[in-house]
């Protein structure tokens, strides 16, 4: 759901983690037969708020901008 009331995307959210090194550290074994640097991953990452792995283009009402920190 791309909420109209909340256009901000996960890429800019304080709860979101999608750095490749971070993901390879968290998803143990990912670099064994794949990689977090591959095109197929796109810019997906982990949402610490909802415990989901999702696209950086996702959004939700609990968005908190990184820029406010």
């Amino acid at each position: 759901m791309e909420s109209k009331s909340c256009p901000a995307r996960c890429a800019g959210c304080v709860h979101f983690r999608n750095d490749a090194a971070y993901l390879e550290r968290y998803f143990r074994g990912l670099n064994s037969l794949s990689s977090a640097h591959g095109s197929v991953r796109g810019d997906d990452g982990i949402c610490l708020r909802h415990d989901r792995y999702l696209s950086a283009r996702a959004s939700c009402s609990e968005f908190r901008s990184r820029n406010r920190l």
């Binding site: 983690r17 550290r25 998803f27 037969l33 640097h37 796109g42 909802h50």
Partner: protein, 478 residues
């Protein structure tokens, strides 16, 4: 080897990882055009096409890169092997420096530390020299000392029994090496062959991928697994292993534990299949092309499949099975890369639509975008196709005799030798980065669902490769 699937507790793992990364370094910059230097697919293209371009420039000027593309030659006594290394020491040093330089540029751009990469790659290169040399022993085939399998076993022993510091992983980049190798492989595969054999590969791979996905998904649902986990597992078994699993996990917004579960299951199955498939295919006396096609439909990850296909090709080289080494590798490549990998973006797009319109509405979400097909497209395949097209075009004017007499030894042969190095770096890295004790616990149900699909996959793949399309694969590149 003890297969200890230790539970990597989600929350504690997260807090441990979080403590290692400053908050500002946990979000990657938005890609857009920066993908050209921030994704390893593109770096594999730059490196692979760069090597091919340099090889062609040397060839066009009456020379060759074969001095640089040195590999251990056949030997029967240690004295012969020692004499080879003594005579070619400078060539190995030069090759090591070139590989080190190009990989350092790429991995630095991807964010790795040079001071970690250099010792790591030095270890990888020395082990690779030893393993390729062992494979050139005239008794190697007698003891089944196929380099891909030896590399895998050595790597697994070092990482699981001896133990290596984690920072060494910087140089063990499985996917980067296999993608670079695949781009180089494109230069040895005529484009006309891709056009001729590609449609059958796509047809066969599509049938198997769709059936395998449905079986894993259906069995998973029946035994109570979450839909998104079922889709993640299904893609892992049906498309391209771990890479497909994480792509689909992201596309459908799976729980964060889904990807680690899929990673564990795929790794266990894929590594087992590396050892099983070549020897089962040999037991059935499958032609090299047929065996390659079967491995292409039955293996889950590109890197693991190349290890199995290269092993089967080596069996053909030794005369154990009919056909040639190239036929096994070409058939595998067409089936896996052209037939299966290219569709991952479409799988992701379709499943994203289903997830957001049919499944339960979740806390987070997004509107699926068709552009996702391109975003997730495994770009290294573009390099593979371009490499094939370039070499096919520049060699079009040669007769078969001239091609075999001058083009193969001066252009295609050295590129193939460089590919051999890239592949062995990859095979070793699989073992060196697979630490069974650190994998997340998959659980019985995900393993059961995936295994059901894997078994169906192997059976249908065998029927299509060895019976329905057998003639097609036997005549490939004859």
């Amino acid at each position: 080897m003890k297969l200890n699937f230790k539970l990597l507790n989600g929350s504690s793992a997260m807090s441990n990882v979080d403590s290692e990364f400053p908050r500002e370094s946990t979000v990657a910059p938005q890609l857009r055009w920066r993908e050209l230097w921030l994704k390893e697919d593109w770096w594999a293209i730059w490196l692979g096409l760069g090597i091919i371009l340099v090889a062609y420039l040397f060839f066009a000027n009456g020379s060759s890169i074969k001095w640089l593309a040195v590999t251990p030659s056949k030997w029967s006594t240690l004295a012969q092997l020692g004499a080879h290394f003594s005579a070619n020491f400078a060539r190995y040093i030069a090759q090591f420096v070139v590989w080190l330089a190009v990989f350092t540029v790429a991995l630095t751009a991807l964010g790795y530390k040079v001071r970690e990469f250099i010792p790591s790659f030095a270890l990888l290169y020395i082990l690779s020299v030893l393993i390729i040399a062992l494979g050139q022993w005239d008794k190697a085939s007698t003891y089944n000392l196929e380099p891909p399998l030896v590399a895998l076993v050595v790597g697994l022993l070092l990482s699981n029994v001896v133990g290596l510091p984690r920072w060494l992983d910087t140089g063990f980049r499985v996917e980067f090496y296999i993608k670079t190798g695949i781009v180089l492989l494109g230069a040895t595969l005529p484009f006309t062959l891709i056009i001729w054999a590609g449609p059958v590969a796509i047809l066969q791979a599509s049938i198997i991928s769709i059936v395998t996905f449905q079986v894993i998904y259906w069995v998973g649902l029946r035994i109570g697994l979450d839909r998104r986990l079922c889709a993640t597992l299904g893609a892992g078994g049906a498309v391209c292993g771990v890479s497909a699993a994480i792509a689909i996990a992201g596309a459908v917004g799976a729980k964060k534990d889904a990807a680690p579960i899929a990673i564990t299951v795929v790794i266990v199955w894929a590594i087992a299949m590396i050892f099983v498939l070549p020897f089962v295919a040999a037991a059935f006396h499958l032609h090299a092309g047929v065996g390659g096609a079967w491995i292409g439909t039955s293996e889950f990850a590109d890197a693991a499949g190349f290890a199995a296909a290269q092993t089967y090709g080596n069996l053909a080289s030794h005369g154990t099975v009919a056909g040639t080494s190239d036929q096994a590798v070409f058939a595998y490549t067409l089936m896996k890369v052209v037939g299966r990998d290219v569709w991952i973006g479409i799988w992701a797009f379709i499943l994203a639509i289903i997830a957001t319109t049919q499944w339960e509405r979740t806390e987070t979400g997004r509107k699926p975008e068709a552009a996702e097909i391109w975003w997730r497209f495994p770009k290294f395949i573009i390099g593979f196709l371009v490499a094939s097209l370039i070499v096919t075009l520049v060699t079009t004017g040669y007769s078969l005799g001239d091609y075999n007499h001058s083009v193969v030894p001066a252009l295609v042969g050295p590129i193939k030798d460089m590919r051999t190095w890239a592949f062995i770096f990859c095979f070793l890295s699989i073992g060196l980065t697979t630490r069974f004790g650190e994998l997340a616990r998959a659980g019985r149900k995900p393993f059961l669902a995936f295994s059901a699909g894997a078994i169906v996959n192997v059976i249908i793949g065998f029927i299509l490769s060895a019976i329905v399309f057998a003639t097609h694969w036997e005549t490939l590149a004859r």
